[in-house]
Symmetry: D2
Subunit: 344 residues, 4 copies
């Protein structure tokens, strides 16, 4: 397979390279850029010396059409312009931005404050939450790869919502993320001295992943009232931990919830249910494509606390994108992705 | 004033020393220990060289009775034994452990899994949430200094509960803490390589600060149903950020909530209400005795998100303890505590 | 005393505010800016709410002349323009940039790649290494406050060079710094995701503090050959640890070196010699104006390893600046600076 | 191949598992323990759930003899007891401790303060610095895998010493390490709150890697006088950066040094020479088996600064161990080790 990557300089792009380089079916990786044409990639990123020493190419549709698959790691508002001309052409397309995720264009405009992508391309796109949409992904040309937060939230909540084990009307989701989710552009919010030794809440009630989560609830489980979802920045590079709170449905128990999760994911290689643990954290999936889930019901309140962890750059971005590529090409879902979590 | 500190080697003790050393009314600080008698303190902690070079003293009630005030930074289960013999004697007593906080001894046993302190001493003790209990603190001999999490949670929620601005029946509190809250004893949970680059949930539904928060709701605001309260460890040393979620009471608005908080704390030097912010984090109170609070109501859900930040070792421990000492001795509440937050 | 601060938005400025706010002789602090006139400072930096709520003022020489002392935390290349008009006028001037440190203007141009300050102002300036230049500082109007690295290096090496206890011809200095030394402007080098979990060497053989150290050797100890000095960025916010290596002079012992250091600083409140230690690190001076020094001689090599630690923002910048102000105004050297190191 | 791992619970063991799990020639991994027999490994380390769910086995020589290769990640002082009975038996043996590295047993006792391993086993062992000892490794049964610091130091200095490009008599090596090098046993030195936001020097002139480096100089390059080598702990988990300082030999230039390094490692897949860089750090080898080297000569001093970076747990431990296994079994040196550095 020949793979093209648009926007390789971003962190999504770097992670695509990290995994695709050792993917058994990938023969060739070519990098495209809108602004750094000719730059030798391993001079910009010396960790890739001897691994990817090619110059960045100018984005040209003629060239891109010749690849088997094109990943875009371009930012929201840019992918919406770059990918539509390739729809209906040869390559499979996998977009890591939010530009093709929201089917309701008005919602996109409201939350992203940008021009939406052309309606036809959005209509064409398939939401790439692999474990929940595999059949559609297998047939899709254009994949809208899920956001990092939605991946962590949806994998843990969808089974419980679908089986009516929790009350959708009182859902509170409190998410914590490492800083790499903010990308590679330096700004005050990601400046080391103001991020280190600091835990902060940001974009309160304004995060663009809110409508994405709500849309997926409708699509895969049930319509639910608007959710409360808040996002925090913690002083680490990788990892998302999402803590969700919901009232347990009448008559249901912790065991019912755990069983439902275990059954849903029994044959899914990248989702693991952790039954007992004293300390459940992001390091147990570090660097890997796993999503781990833990759930407890408090008998005092009859409320469930559902916790999930992912590596935001892997299962929350590049890893899931490759998992989707594997599905599109009918490969083993784990091809190139069987990295063991680093833990330390 | 002559001050004695029991358990000075712990982080609470070190912070007491940091602030008391420059307190305008403190003449002398003497350190007591149960196991390190004779150790020159600045040999154990060389950051205190030339500042506190005295040997640690053996704990003897005769000696302790001669101080104006005795702080105990001994752990829970130890303070309960050490302080009761001093009740009714000369010194004011301020305990930083959880041993005198819960008035219901059965609750103490249930959550702490330890023998409670003698009932008479517990009955005598006054809960030291300075902004809410000043009159009682002023007259008390024995102060049960609040826990770090409860301080952050109570200061932000009590006004809203007391004025019935939020619904107490759907309260969810998600707290994030730096690692210093776990104290100075090394263990796997605080081992650098397993804590760095890791955000984790721990003691889910089991944290001993739950009954403390519930008791304070009853005492200062209203009886409320059991709460959902969960605690997370983030890779930083200092700071707590507590994110609380509650349904806004019928007819109330964000402005009502903000006004209530501003009015409650108008004349309180250490509580600040932050109206507008993009990123609200623990570094804005770092190293100081402030508690900052921010609140937003989401019109989509009519739910309030109430966020508060403290330095867990200062307002959440030693700083509030000294603030209580100031109240007990009728000093300016800010004496020795007017440190500017470090931010970086 | 009335104090003006130019460039208060930088980290040097924030630290000046942190210490000056509680300085016993400072009545009023006024902030000046070249680009943010009218901004309410506590809206930009909410950690200063209720502490410093004033608007930033435009830089005007007429106004600045009326202060008792003006600190400049403007960057190199800017201070050189702003301060000279105030030379010979009323206020004492303390500059935290490198613009007035190098007496040889050609050297400034070579290492800073900028236009030097006017020769007359440079000639007028006094190097503000308090422990070594107190008499001149007391009489000076314009202080060139030392760089962070030079402070750590000079305090530890000057006594040994002056007394000929080490060989100046084989001096190697390896310095490690937290990221705050790079200031508050976000860039790739200080971007959290590329700085966290990374130790890096930078500006190898090019750091502008090299000529500053060499000039001070000549001024306070002896002429020495060019030094090898290299700088590393470690993933923490505050702190410098400088490890210096030198051959011990013929016939001298570790005891001689330690004694020399202890004697030199016997009456200096902010320099401490640590004799025995297993682990000697920056956290023992965190947040304080101390410089701690430790020295060992290896009998296998007859080489001394001399280690010093400072908080780069305090003794390496704002703290030493205030110490110099204290000297200029004949106050106790420790006024406003007696903060105990935080350690944790 | 069937692989046994003794001491799998340590960080060296965890990293062996991380790489061996995807090694193309490894069929089976079995874990051995001296104290946790029967523990399901993925219950102790939940990041290995579904990856390695087997119980830990008791160490029995009969069983161990049946493996193709046995790695020992047991600590120094323990490996010396466990491995000798297997010498001369079936399995290849690769020891990650320091117990078989020093050929001079008296030196071992002096620096490790422990009983040395039996002389015959030490005599048998081959030092596993792959790039420098490949022929001997290929024939060896027992490999003494190099220490983390020595690996970083030796790969960068051996070529220059061997070719007489630097003066061995004035060698100063200043090394910085992440905390994982201290292993998984919690203690005060690795306690998060005292390690975070702290850079410290430790074991000054006492580090047991000093004689290992000196021995390898003699073995692979030339006898050299005792070195100055010091070690620092920086607040990150993984990574070593070693900065070495040496006077350049008469008539030699920076270009000579760089060329020598490039030629030495031209056909070595895991050593890369970085010619130009502004910032050279450990993150460029993070999680990988690479050692990157950068060298500059300062014309002012004619001194070379030679900098190398490795991931201490990979090239500095488990990665190099597997590289040695590959050599022993005549596999491609990179088998199972072609991980791309993570960078972020």
């Amino acid at each position: 397979m020949k793979v093209g990557i648009i926007g390789a300089s971003g962190y999504g792009g770097l992670e695509l390279i990290r995994f695709l380089h050792n993917h058994p079916e990938v023969e060739q990786i070519t990098l495209f850029t809108s602004s750094e044409e000719g730059t030798i990639f391993s001079q910009k990123y010396s960790h890739l010396l001897n691994i990817l020493d090619q110059p960045l190419q100018r984005i040209e549709n003629d060239r891109l059409e010749q690849f088997d698959v094109v990943f875009s790691s371009a930012p929201a508002g840019v992918a919406s312009q770059l990918l539509p001309p390739l729809v209906g052409k040869g390559p499979k397309l996998i977009d890591l931005s939010g530009d093709f995720r929201l089917k309701d264009l008005a919602l996109y405009e409201e939350w992203y404050k940008k021009e939406p992508a052309p309606a036809s391309a959005v209509a064409e796109s398939v939401y790439g939450l692999t474990e929940w949409n595999k059949a559609a992904i297998a047939k899709a040309q254009l994949i809208a790869n899920p956001g990092c937060y939605p991946t962590a939230v949806l994998l843990s909540l969808l089974p419980l919502l679908k089986e009516n084990l929790i009350d959708p009307s009182q859902l509170i989701i409190d998410a914590k993320s490492g800083v790499s989710g903010a990308g590679n552009q330096p700004n005050q919010m990601t400046h080391f001295s103001e991020t280190n030794e600091n835990t902060a809440i940001y974009k309160l009630n304004q995060h663009q992943h809110i409508p994405e989560i709500e849309q997926a609830f409708s699509l895969f489980a049930q319509d639910a009232p608007p959710i409360t979802f808040s996002t925090h920045l913690v002083p680490m590079t990788r990892g998302i931990l999402a803590t969700s709170y919901a009232t347990v449905a009448e008559g249901m128990t912790e065991e019912d919830l755990v069983n439902c999760l275990e059954e849903t994911y029994a044959d899914k290689p990248f989702v693991r249910i952790i039954r007992e643990t004293n300390k459940f954290g992001t390091n147990q999936v570090y660097g890997s494509n796993y999503c781990d889930i833990h759930v407890k019901v408090d008998p005092r309140t009859n409320r469930a606390t559902i916790v999930s962890v992912i590596d935001n750059l892997v299962k929350g971005a590049a890893g899931q994108a490759i998992q989707n590529m594997n599905v599109q090409f009918n490969l083993d879902e784990t091809a190139g992705l069987a990295h063991v979590p680093a833990f330390i």
